[in-house]
């Protein structure tokens, strides 16, 4: 692909950027998306301000000193606390299980919670408490070798660790964003392709450049618009979130944001050409709705089922499979990761599979597009297009 090839392709991309980027629809969706994110971040923070204090049990040790540690940890992590002295560890643990207590500090030994947050994220209060209590202990007993947690006490969970609710909410945010962006832009691509085919301008354009250049330019221009809109959305999410000290943002572990970004870009790459191919099969824009259904289905399935993963502990085997299949993984894998159901290496494997699937999909979609973009008349069937030779 020569410099000239890219120059012409970039012309096509520029046209998309200009005409779509300036359109009212683009501005309106951006504003709505940003407002929705702002509301999603700010409202929980406002609600949290009026929330009840965390009940923290203390076991053993001098009550006054331990109360000071708990209060100070609450101040550091921005959490309201109520200290509840407990007679013994067994009683404290049972009250922890029943939800009567949220955290238990065992003097000089450990911090106990019901469930340790996934990957150490979320639940900022127990971490602050553990650090502070550990420091206090160390200061009292120097010199002593430091443990794996530095000066902090170990945080022990009564049941195996999983992702915290805030992490899951970030996962939900990610999956909603991915689903919306891929759907909306995919549909716009299909509409744009059908518009060019219906208005026959495609004949004038393809007298100057190759179909693949028109295809690449189109998905590139649209992709850039999609990335811009997403970046703005994420910036508002993180910026506004940290400004109001939202717990939703606190759960936005860098890992999930990175996984989300990777799957958005590769997922878009996987789907954009498929939408273009679907658009090239019809002769009128009004037929787009039915033509893109097969392309829309897998991602919608992954999106709808994501609620079953985000609100339960441990994803089912079916959803884990969806996490590795290229058509569903752009939504399914970030959800699984956010819910703490898969380790990072599996996310990487899924991303590689998706990238490989993208190469395959692009080839097929480009073939369909090239063969059908100049053929008008009745709506074409994929099998018919693939069987026949070029137009």
């Amino acid at each position: 692909m020569s410099r000239h090839w890219w120059q012409k392709t970039w012309l096509v991309a520029q046209r998309e950027l200009r005409t779509r980027g300036r359109s009212r629809a683009y501005l309106v969706t951006t504003v709505i998306l940003l407002l929705a994110v702002a509301a999603g971040v700010v409202i929980p923070a406002i609600v949290a301000r009026g929330s009840k204090p965390e009940r923290v049990g203390i076991v053993g040790g001098p009550a006054a000193a331990m109360t000071r540690i708990v209060t100070e940890a609450g101040r550091i992590s921005g959490t309201k606390v109520t200290v509840v002295p407990e007679p013994g560890l067994a009683t404290a643990e049972s009250r922890l299980r029943s939800g009567d207590l949220s955290t238990v500090l065992v003097d000089g030994t450990e911090v106990v919670v019901k469930q340790v947050a996934f990957a150490g994220t979320g639940g900022s209060f127990p971490v602050a408490l553990a650090n502070l209590a550990g420091l206090t202990k160390v200061l009292g007993q120097l010199p002593q070798s430091t443990g794996p947690n530095g000066f902090a006490l170990p945080v022990r969970g009564l049941i195996p660790p999983s992702a915290s609710l805030t992490t899951r909410l970030t996962g939900l945010f990610t999956s909603v964003l991915l689903w919306i962006i891929i759907q909306v832009y995919g549909q716009q691509i299909a509409m744009g392709v059908a518009e060019e085919k219906q208005s026959r301008i495609v004949e004038v354009i393809l007298a100057t450049i190759r179909p693949i250049q028109l295809l690449v330019g189109k998905v590139l221009g649209m992709g850039l618009l999609a990335m811009l809109q997403t970046a703005a959305t994420v910036a508002v999410f993180l910026g506004l979130g940290s400004a109001v000290g939202s717990s939703v943002v606190h759960g936005a572990a860098p890992g999930i944001v990175i996984a989300g970004a990777v799957f958005l870009i590769v997922g878009y790459a996987f789907y954009c050409t498929a939408y273009a191919a679907a658009g090239s099969l019809v002769s009128r824009q009004s037929e787009i709705g039915t033509a893109i259904v097969p392309v829309t289905l897998p991602l919608t399935l992954a999106y709808v089922l994501s609620y079953t993963v985000l609100y339960t502990n441990g994803a089912n085997a079916f959803y884990r499979v969806l996490g590795f299949l290229p058509p569903t993984s752009p939504v399914a894998m970030p959800v699984l990761y956010a819910a703490g159901d898969v380790p990072a290496w599996q996310v990487a494997v899924s991303a590689v599979l998706l990238a490989a699937g993208t190469v395959w999909m692009t080839r097929i979609a480009a073939t369909i597009y090239t063969r059908s973009i100049l053929r008008t008349g009745a709506r074409l069937r994929i099998r018919q297009v693939m069987r026949e030779a070029a137009h």
């Binding site: 005409t19 208005s199 301008i201 004949e203 354009i205 007298a207 450049i209 100049l374 070029a390």
Partner: protein
């Protein structure tokens, strides 16, 4: 010179082009005629590489046409194609740049054509906000914006009002005068007769007649129309030697006579004078529409 040699294209059981061959001389307005379904649009699309040919080739100035050459061609497809919701100046600039113009040159050319076509004040209007006639003008500007060497127009006169037809005719003539080769298809044969120096008539994907309009109208067997005052029924002509001429009929007192190839028309005049006073003696030419009917067997 545009040369099309042995173009073949089959769609399933339908043969669209069946070894079509013809040549368009440079700097001419050339009419490309044929009944519906004869293969005109397929031929034009083949020039732009929009149809994969089963055989044959298209040459421009002696070389097989490739991508680069095509960017110096201008094309107006049968079903008009532009972006309905895009401002017209932007579309023209975009198309100009796809045809290798720089951004500045494309702007300048687009503005020049819009001015020329009386659309200067509509530069920022969307295409679909314009009247049908103005949309046609933009379509023409789109084919011309990059100052092409070869202009191919599929039914450029379809749907134009008389003013639009005049404007289009004038521009096509002007372009040919500037050295551009102009090829267009049309069913309006009066217009073709008036505009074109030469035409090609195709049917069923094959060439059936080609040449200068005047030659085609005269035909390969010239016909004479003769009126002898004393013999309106033309009995004198029945006695003509078949090796020289053959009487075909009588039309309003004029005897129509087909001259044998190479025969001297003056021998017929002599025979007529011998029969009486010759009031009328002329070579009878066919109208292009008659030629079309004769070679395709179909009405226009």
């Amino acid at each position: 010179m545009l040369e099309l040699t042995g173009l073949r294209r089959r769609y399933g059981s339908v043969i669209a082009l069946d070894g079509l061959t013809f040549t368009v001389p440079p700097g001419q307005v050339f009419g490309f005629l044929g009944p519906n379904g004869a293969g005109k649009t397929t031929t034009m699309r083949a020039i732009f590489g929009l149809v994969a040919l089963d055989g044959g080739e298209v040459r421009w100035r002696g070389a097989v046409v490739g991508e680069q050459a095509r960017r110096r061609f201008g094309y107006m497809p049968e079903e008009r194609g532009l972006y309905p919701s895009m401002p017209i100046l932007d579309q023209l600039v975009y198309l100009g740049r796809l045809h290798d113009l720089t951004a500045d040159a494309a702007h300048e050319a687009a503005r020049t054509w819009l001015r020329r076509l009386g659309l200067a004040d509509r530069a920022s209007s969307r295409l679909d906000a314009l009247s049908h006639g103005n949309q046609q003008r933009v379509q023409l500007a789109a084919a011309l914006v990059h100052d092409p060497e070869l202009l191919v127009l599929d039914e450029p006169f379809a749907g134009l009002d008389p003013g639009g037809v005049d404007e289009m005719s004038q521009i096509l003539g002007e372009r040919a005068g500037a050295g551009v080769t102009v090829v267009f298809s049309s069913h309006q044969l009066d217009l073709v007769e008036h505009l074109c120096e030469a035409v090609a008539i195709i049917n069923h994907g094959r060439m059936v007649a080609q040449g200068a309009v005047t030659d085609l109208e005269r035909g390969d067997r010239p016909r004479l129309a003769v009126r002898v005052a004393e013999d309106p029924a033309g009995d004198w002509a029945r006695a003509l030697d078949p090796a020289i001429a053959k009487m075909e009929g009588v039309d309003a007192g004029r005897v129509l006579i087909a001259l044998a190839p190479g025969a001297d028309s003056q021998l017929v005049l002599d025979a007529a004078r011998a029969a009486g006073t010759v009031e009328h003696f002329s070579f009878e030419s066919r109208r292009l529409s008659q030629v079309f009917r004769d070679v395709t067997g179909e009405e226009v």
